[in-house]
Symmetry: C3
Subunit: 300 residues, 3 copies
Amino acid sequence: MNHLLTMSGLTLNEIENILHEAEQFSEGNSWKVDHQMFVANMFFEHSTRTRNSFEVAEKKLGLEVLNFYAESSSVQKGETLYDTVRTLESIGINGVVIRHHENNFYQELVGKINIPIINAGAGTGEHPTQCLLDLLTIKQEFQTFKDLNVAIVGDISHSRVAHSNYDALTRLGANVVFSGPNEWQDNTGKFISMDEAVREADVLMLLRIQHERHAGQMGNSKEEYHQAYGLTIEREKTMKKHSIIMHPAPVNRGVEIADELVECDRSRIFKQMQNGVFARMAVLKRAFETQKINELTVQL
Amino acid sequence: MNHLLTMSGLTLNEIENILHEAEQFSEGNSWKVDHQMFVANMFFEHSTRTRNSFEVAEKKLGLEVLNFYAESSSVQKGETLYDTVRTLESIGINGVVIRHHENNFYQELVGKINIPIINAGAGTGEHPTQCLLDLLTIKQEFQTFKDLNVAIVGDISHSRVAHSNYDALTRLGANVVFSGPNEWQDNTGKFISMDEAVREADVLMLLRIQHERHAGQMGNSKEEYHQAYGLTIEREKTMKKHSIIMHPAPVNRGVEIADELVECDRSRIFKQMQNGVFARMAVLKRAFETQKINELTVQL
Amino acid sequence: MNHLLTMSGLTLNEIENILHEAEQFSEGNSWKVDHQMFVANMFFEHSTRTRNSFEVAEKKLGLEVLNFYAESSSVQKGETLYDTVRTLESIGINGVVIRHHENNFYQELVGKINIPIINAGAGTGEHPTQCLLDLLTIKQEFQTFKDLNVAIVGDISHSRVAHSNYDALTRLGANVVFSGPNEWQDNTGKFISMDEAVREADVLMLLRIQHERHAGQMGNSKEEYHQAYGLTIEREKTMKKHSIIMHPAPVNRGVEIADELVECDRSRIFKQMQNGVFARMAVLKRAFETQKINELTVQL
């Protein structure tokens, strides 16, 4: 069963295979399922880019897409996630893409559900397809991860992006450091000052300030955050010539990054979104291509 | 016009034809519309399994699916159901699937709307596709309905499943009895004790406690309900060897049925969901296959 | 870039070309995109007929449809419209259909977004596809617009339909006048009494009382409005023999128009909805058919 649950659960070899497949899709390769197959997108948290990115990827692979919105479903009636997914499996869904507010939502599913599960963002835990699209973007730029300096800036402790990326990039040979306010540090890796991070990074990865997660708790105002930990116009000038800017988006313009820099030459922010489709196509192909026999077994 | 509004509106012959078609779909038969046709799913109440089951069935038949969510529609502007459906007919929709909180929602439509209407659950009235999938599940198990003992347990008075099933199963020759708390009885049929129901039934059909319908009114706590009217581990041991357990789901684990029994050998709960797709394919085929001439008339 | 933003931005020649194409679709012509293309429907306000009408039109053209609901998207996280649309462009969407509460929502997009934008209703400003379907309905009836008397009745000052139609019909040679309560007049054109409007009009175009826009502000009760400015059964009898009734819907039965007249012989209300699909097909074809080269450029 080719789930995609966490980056740490993938071997380096598996990561490289997915990135290779994604690169091929980015170069115009196509692949379609050879019979009618169904995927359900289950989003228990708001999302624009991830949900739509998955839907485009799914339709490019020829999958039939069911969109499941938590707010108009029986989850409102108190049904467990296991029973909901088991239901979808029973009605013939061949795979599920799930965004959920719990870090380990998939633990009640794995081993009991016989269709692949793709993690589209789990609480403050992992967000592996975001990580894979980040890796794809970095690989397109530098061809290798070995000895690259990657600085991740922002609310590290609550960021699923930070955790997935730290794990994968470190294993791939990059030097990953963090920056950001003290209260958002955790013990994952080394913290450095923002000015140093900007100067030294080949890849400067800014995280979104998730107002919706800590409404009102933020010690600094937006402008204060921007001056202390944002990529200001002044700081950008200290970046190395070939360094790139990344951000998982949605961007808070003028907070994590100056408005004028969002689409500057070294920004890869919208490129990341484009790559998101290719990375998800690779993940979905991996999950669905081996399924023909399983599916027939269930049918008959 | 091949609507599906109520079970009582179908002759025995029509029921048998639908079940026969559904069985053929369950054995792997396929059928597709031969030109582009549109169906709209209009759900005015929350639903996971029914809505998704219809959508899978529709896509297996090659229909184009429009999902209509009451909360983001002009129904918010006070439009009548008639005007909404008439609108969908005008824009070229070839059939509508409707779940509605009113028992007789279809009465303002029938005879005035020229596209088939499929009842996907009407208030506390009927839920004919649930009944058809239940019948299919029983038929697969016992080949006949004649003289089968069927016990339906729970909130009979508010259950559209109970009403549809009582009517159809009785006409098909089964002996249908009820069990459950006194305050949820109505005058539809004979009530017996839970222990007797469990011992005597060939088909033990548990109904969902609909907390959302009578929040706070429930005299017993969940655990008390389970002891009094639930299928406990002890009661299950008194069932006949070949008896089966059914439940329309979503299940309240530990209330209507012990958690451990939901997927036991004699449970057909997830089988029912699988059959739901086949039953709905049969109902949709019946509604759409005769429509070619109508549709062309409207178009030209 | 073949956007559709306003009627006033279209030349008479462009309007005639769109109407010609729409008429051909109404006569059974078909056209499909020749490779997989994606459209996103972004509705920031409630809608039944416009949204579903676009979706049917899109699917008739063979487009892949993504439905974007503002309430379950990152717009909730404060993202700008520009960033949201730029995201959709990045993930490979080939065009967007947008309904928005701001009159000039498209100004932050045009010139910066490289995919066509179709205005599906903008605040109290324009609603060009509604206008085009109205024009198509009038043209089917009278073959010409020259010297036709068109009376538009209701809340002129808040009506995007009134503004789009006044501009286009006047340019096409029709005489357009208004009627309705004093407080809803603006300085767009000439106001006359309701009785005169009904007697003189070839096309009597009733506007919806938008309770949701001015809840509680309405000076008259519904019945008083009906007597003063509604098409009552008595007034209808004073209409010219060949005059027709139009309404953009949803209709408030018994307010703008007597219940019994909604589907009378001279009503074109549901015909307008049918024409909406054809008008939108023409607009979408115009937007998507020139896109092949652009799209390939983005892909490669």
